[in-house]
């Protein structure tokens, strides 16, 4: 054993097939006493928690990634294998393994139990979903199966309060002896079949409700129609339910900054706190409601078993573009914000598919682009009706969203053609039984997402915000200066220097300056423009004051060019930081930033030149 555990702590690990209810069991055992991080050096989620057994002994439990086999085919499965074998650097070999099996899917899950048994560690089998099995008329002779497997079996119902009592009691007993090893070369499938015929009776192979639901939800026509309706409802919720909450956060941020402004004397410290930290962090925190509503939908759809169905329906479309059905969920999340979207690519097991998805995720129109789009559309696109029913402004907004999706598909297709690797990409995706999402699992999942998002705001985004504040504030304007302060700052000087590069795409120096603080978050560009045009950014309603100014001073070609720029440009350092964190590769960061800036420049150039030629 690579580490000796202390006498009063038991270290256990939960292992099992995907969809065995392992994580629900983990949540039920540990409640909120969990710690989510990454395994050292890889981006596989490491979940650890603790609870007390019946004797009050501390039990430390590791929720290992789900695996179909110890012959690993993905980074997740390799982690499970290495930790169980005590080979993963920095992870002690567990004292005991709890192998979680779904009582309604024993045929598949018992095979994995037999594979794990070969490791020679003490084991307990948790027969999960025993209530569902009972309801489906499945009877399991637990005593007999226990004897055949040579390890204790406890029945658990992870979705019910107290449903893990049997497991906790079993853990309080003396540690069971490691199960006897199977002879080498045994046919695991044959052994499982023998055990099933001896100890289990199963009236039907499938649940009637799954058959009925799949007939409708996976229907080539109705299935796609229902998926479209679900997506529509979700976007409706993200953009309309979140509005009051976002207004509330906005008001809170404004109130805080004016409160502190009144409290502190004018000076650098006040500027740092109010203009730098509160304004910068506030501009990102405002997206928390949208992100939480989006994740509530995604978690509920995932728990219910619907999301893998969506991946099934869309796989062929995505493969055509060099992605996979599994890319659907991350790309969907990216419409709220690319950061959770890129984090969600962890569910894509094929590393090539995962990188392709990460690279195109920033092209989805995230909600931070909305303020910029809204400002420019209001300023330059006339509010008239075309073809009788469509608002021209609405059509332009739609075109911008559409441009993002089409370019993502195009970029993925080009990457597919370029990559030399012709090895087959796999799907082999399990569609689990439908179940009702449990409120406890939803709440824990949401809490986890919120914590990750807020900790990022507190670290990376806070740092970048301070750096950008410094760039825009120093050096201070010389005495008697007439222009806005930002013009004399480092950011201003960089903006003026950038002008020669951006003149061919129609950007004036004010836009160039605004692009620099706009690197922290896209929508910051709006308040930065207001600052450049010598408006007070703390007046709250910068947009409406800015509107007539830019309408008067910019050409339509410049405005359209800036819109095209925002479809592509990675004007979001947090996204690049997330890509770095999720891929652990600066090369991927350089590739994404490079191709996105390149596309942005190209699109703006074409837009600007065409608009000039037509006007």
């Amino acid at each position: 054993m690579s580490a000796v555990s202390t006498a009063d702590t038991l270290r256990i690990a939960l292992v099992g097939n995907p969809n065995c209810g392992k994580t629900a069991l983990f949540n039920r055992l540990t409640g909120s006493r969990q710690k989510v991080a990454n395994y050292a050096g890889v981006t596989v989620e490491r979940k650890e928690g603790r609870f007390a057994d019946s004797n009050g002994r501390n039990v430390q439990v590791l929720d290992l990634p789900g695996a179909y086999s110890l012959a690993a085919t993905s980074p997740d499965e390799a982690i499970t294998r290495d930790v169980c074998m005590g080979k993963f650097p920095g992870e002690a070999k567990p004292d005991l393994l709890v192998c979680v099996v779904d009582a309604t899917n024993l045929r598949l899950h018992l095979r994995f139990v037999l594979e794990v048994q070969r490791l020679g560690l003490p084991m307990i089998v948790a027969l999960n979903c025993s209530d569902l099995a009972q309801r489906r008329g499945i009877t399991i002779d637990r005593a007999r199966l226990q004897k055949e497997l040579g390890m204790p079996i406890v029945e658990t119902i992870a979705v019910r309060a107290g449903g893990t009592q049997t497991l906790v009691q079993q853990l309080s007993l003396a540690k069971p002896a490691p199960p006897p090893a199977l002879p080498d070369g045994s046919d695991l499938h044959a052994i499982v079949n023998r055990m099933l015929s001896n100890s289990v009776t199963m009236p039907t192979r499938t649940a009637a409700v799954d058959d009925a639901l799949d007939r409708v939800l996976l229907h080539p026509v109705f299935g796609l129609a229902i998926l479209t309706a679900v997506m529509f409802l979700m976007f409706q919720a993200v953009f309309s339910w979140a509005t009051p909450l976002m207004d509330g956060i906005d008001a809170g941020v404004t109130a805080t900054s004016s409160f502190i402004s009144n409290l502190m004397p004018d000076g650098i410290l006040r500027s740092l706190i109010v203009d730098g930290i509160i304004a910068g962090v506030g501009s990102v925190v405002i997206f928390l409601p949208q992100i939480l509503i989006l994740f509530l939908f995604i978690l509920a759809l995932e728990e219910s078993g619907y999301l893998p169905r969506a991946a099934f329906l869309l796989d062929r479309f995505m493969v055509g573009a060099g992605l996979t059905g599994r890319s659907f969920i991350p790309l969907l999340s990216s419409f709220a914000c690319a950061i959770p979207g890129i984090m969600a690519t962890r569910s894509i097991q094929d590393p090539r598919d995962r990188i392709a998805t990460i690279l195109v995720a920033p092209l989805m129109t995230c909600s931070a682009r909305l303020p910029v789009y809204a400002l420019l559309i209001a300023a330059f696109i006339p509010a008239k009706t075309v073809w009788g029913i469509f608002s021209l402004q609405g059509l332009v907004m739609f075109a911008l969203y559409f441009a993002g999706i089409v370019s993502a598909l195009a970029v993925a297709t080009v990457m597919k053609m370029w990559s030399g690797n012709r090895a087959e990409h796999t799907l082999m995706l399990e569609l689990p039984s439908y179940r009702l999402p449990s409120p406890m699992n939803l709440a824990l999942g949401l809490w986890e997402r919120a914590a990750i998002f807020l900790s990022r705001v507190g670290t990376i985004i806070l740092t970048l915000t301070i750096v950008l504040w410094a760039l825009s504030s120093f050096p201070a304007p010389p005495a008697g200066a007439t222009g806005p302060a930002i013009e004399y700052s480092l950011a201003g000087q960089i903006g003026l220097a950038m002008q020669s590069i951006f003149a061919p795409i129609g950007f004036n120096w004010q836009i160039c300056i605004a692009l620099i603080p706009g690197l922290a978050a896209r929508e910051v560009a709006v308040s930065a423009l207001a600052t450049v045009y010598a408006l007070s950014s703390t007046s709250g309603d910068a947009e409406s004051a800015l509107l007539p100014l830019i309408t008067a001073q910019w050409s339509l070609a410049t405005a359209l060019s800036l819109l095209a720029w925002y479809v592509f440009a990675p004007q979001c350092l947090s996204t690049l930081a997330t890509i770095r964190r999720e891929t652990l590769s600066w090369k991927i960061v350089a590739i994404s930033a490079g191709y996105l800036f390149g596309l942005a420049y190209l699109a703006s150039f074409i837009t600007y030149r065409v608009a000039l030629a037509l006007s």
Partner: protein
């Protein structure tokens, strides 16, 4: 993708030839190369000789992927993956 057939044994078709909901038994999983991780994984997922198998849904475009019921589990397999599974239909 083509499936090499051995003329000396009884003819067997790939999973792709099954009709919707047609009952069949797995005969073998055929590897396309010496080390075919996909074939190995299919066997681990329960595609072993004698297991009942059927197609329970087909993808909306080109019937790809296929949803396969094997044992008590449903797996979505792309056509290239399903082609590796040889089946015999019950008489």
């Amino acid at each position: 993708m083509t499936i090499a057939k051995d003329p000396t044994t009884a003819p067997s078709a790939s999973l792709l030839t099954l009709a919707y909901n047609e009952q069949a038994l797995v005969r073998a999983v055929q590897a396309t190369s010496l080390h075919d991780p996909i074939a190995r994984r299919l066997r681990e997922l329960g595609f072993v000789p004698g297991e009942p198998v059927r197609i329970v849904a087909k993808g909306p475009v080109g019937a790809d992927p296929l949803l396969i019921q094997i044992g008590f589990t449903r797996f979505a397999l792309r056509r290239a993956e399903a082609a590796r599974v040889l089946v015999e239909t019950a008489l």
